[in-house]
Subunit: 412 residues, 2 copies
Amino acid sequence: MADLLEQAKSVKAASRALAMASSAVRDQFLLRAASVLEENSSVILAANEKDLATHGAVLSDAARDRLTLTKSRVQSMANGLRQVAALPDPLGEVVDGWRRPNGLEVRRVRVPLGVVGIIYENRPNVTSDAAGLCIKSGNCAYLRGSSTAQGTNLAIVALLQQVAVEVGLPESCVALVEDPSHDTAAKFMGLNGYLDCLIPRGGPALIASMREHATVPTILDGDGNCHLYVCEHADLAMALSLIENGKTQRPGVCNATETLLIHSSRAEAFFPAMAERLKNVEIRGCLRTCAIIERAIPAKDEDYATEFGDLILSVKVVDTIDEAIDHIATYSTGHSEAICTDNNFFANYFVTSVDAAAVLVNASTRFVDGEQLGLGAEIGISTQKLHARGPMGLRELTTAKWIITGQGQVRT
Amino acid sequence: MADLLEQAKSVKAASRALAMASSAVRDQFLLRAASVLEENSSVILAANEKDLATHGAVLSDAARDRLTLTKSRVQSMANGLRQVAALPDPLGEVVDGWRRPNGLEVRRVRVPLGVVGIIYENRPNVTSDAAGLCIKSGNCAYLRGSSTAQGTNLAIVALLQQVAVEVGLPESCVALVEDPSHDTAAKFMGLNGYLDCLIPRGGPALIASMREHATVPTILDGDGNCHLYVCEHADLAMALSLIENGKTQRPGVCNATETLLIHSSRAEAFFPAMAERLKNVEIRGCLRTCAIIERAIPAKDEDYATEFGDLILSVKVVDTIDEAIDHIATYSTGHSEAICTDNNFFANYFVTSVDAAAVLVNASTRFVDGEQLGLGAEIGISTQKLHARGPMGLRELTTAKWIITGQGQVRT
């Protein structure tokens, strides 16, 4: 803990210098880091091979794949940094401002949060991705990676720190927690006064641990139990391609569609075509669904509450849009909810009534993602309502400062 | 707990109807509520007399005064509601929006948080103030007041609920926790899924209890250990009026100035005049201060960390602006920090380097307040960095919803 606290202090101290660094210097860091990662890919790959040799055997195939770096993956990390460098600077924007009757000039200006903690799993590419987004937004990146990737992460961070010093930023503007144990992770989540914000990049176990241990301010990625409602005024061909895309294009991600709701007047016309199109998808439906789709199995209540992350779809027939909205209010995780309709009134009614980070009209839930929506870069997708909601870009890594300028005004 | 949960469910259900209520209906609620409070002031005052008779004897004079309502105080509550009604609607604002190359229309729109919990102390006027701000911003107001004011609060809430029904809003859009015990307060702070945001209006004990018990999203009012730095380029007459105003105009509030920092080149010229002007203020200074101001007593380290809330000022002489900024970084609570200077470079350097909700140049720290800065209404002052920082108005009671409109787009 003493070591962690010492490191936290040095990162916090670095955040002051970083808050004063120009946009040019921060971009120079990103561009130079991209080159240095490429030039030193052999160093990174050697560390990665060691991590794989030590931990690879106990990992699942998917986990081992996530841990594995190759020359082309290092190249992707470098290109990611270049893309972030090309984005507009989020800092210095005057959010709003005005002059008071007493002559005081009031402005709210976008400034860095300070120290952003990122806690992540077995993906060494997050090390450079997260560091890039933090430095671009004027924040120190204080990283805690997985023990399985610690050697790789250390190699990457050492290179980034070398670049920081080279461009005139404090070395500690990027730092990696040295002891990747669970015990230290819990202490990391409690670094009050040193972490201005802690963001997890990982699965439900990490989020659960954050909910238990974190006492610093956090932005949590929630689950995505996303719905598509096919309205009585829907174009059924469109509905078909939306549910196919939402469910099958990448079933494991949070913006996949998990439940189809459909107005009773369209079920008979829609279900046979849907069952045909979603051949590989297991269908768990209400009784009215099962009466039409032979292979459907009866849905339990918990099916409607489950983010399957798999080729399984829950289905329910409703008699009114309000019934659909009630169902969503009961089971939604507040991530992304869609309606397919040609009717403007129902579209607006749905958009206004449904309480979620994103509401879509005639578009696949799979679009709810920072890159797809045009943020340029994404640090995560928030399902909380305070500070950041939905896909989070550079702006969500900032806060505002009130700047008040007078000529000696006092309050009477 | 069963009762609390039932009530929480009914408030949450009401929030959906409220999210769809027009600006006109919400304003009608506020204006009608103002009249109904005035018309029924005798009912409110009778309940208040009962509360005073039951609890008045154990309260301090100040606390009894806060609990006491009069006809003119009820009038002020009504006028507060009218002022809030006159503010622009914070909802529906398109925060930003654009069209994607694939034709998707993307907008972020300001929407209510849902249910805002307010937990407050022995001030019945907060009942109508908080309810007004919540309804104006499309949120249900779920209130937990002090046990000493419970009868008065119930009388006010009953009138507000009657008005809600009258204008076509759900009765539960304003609700008061029925059991004002500490035990229920802790449960209230843990109503996950029912409270979208919980805001305390009270002193350090309440904040401490929130830190211990709250598991719902919160916006906390922090302490205000505010500094004024008198730079080597300061107009000393201005500095004198800034410190007098900051320290003495209302010493008990969070935006009062607690510490004066001064460049060593100006101490000799400034201190005698300051000691004379702040006759009634106890001065706790560094050794260099004590060498000039005879009546000053040596400051301990803890004096620099204390929000006195009283006619006590800590003072320190520094040799550079960096030393002043370091001192602030060490002791500041991140509320409001001021510099007095005629030099633009130093002004900008201070504004950029100091990490606080508000930074002031040549103005009294006492201006950091929603009304003074022009927000029209204030629900509190946040010293956190996420979501809301500094004075919070109606906008801080909202969140954003992504609305994505397509013509059947799917992701490839």
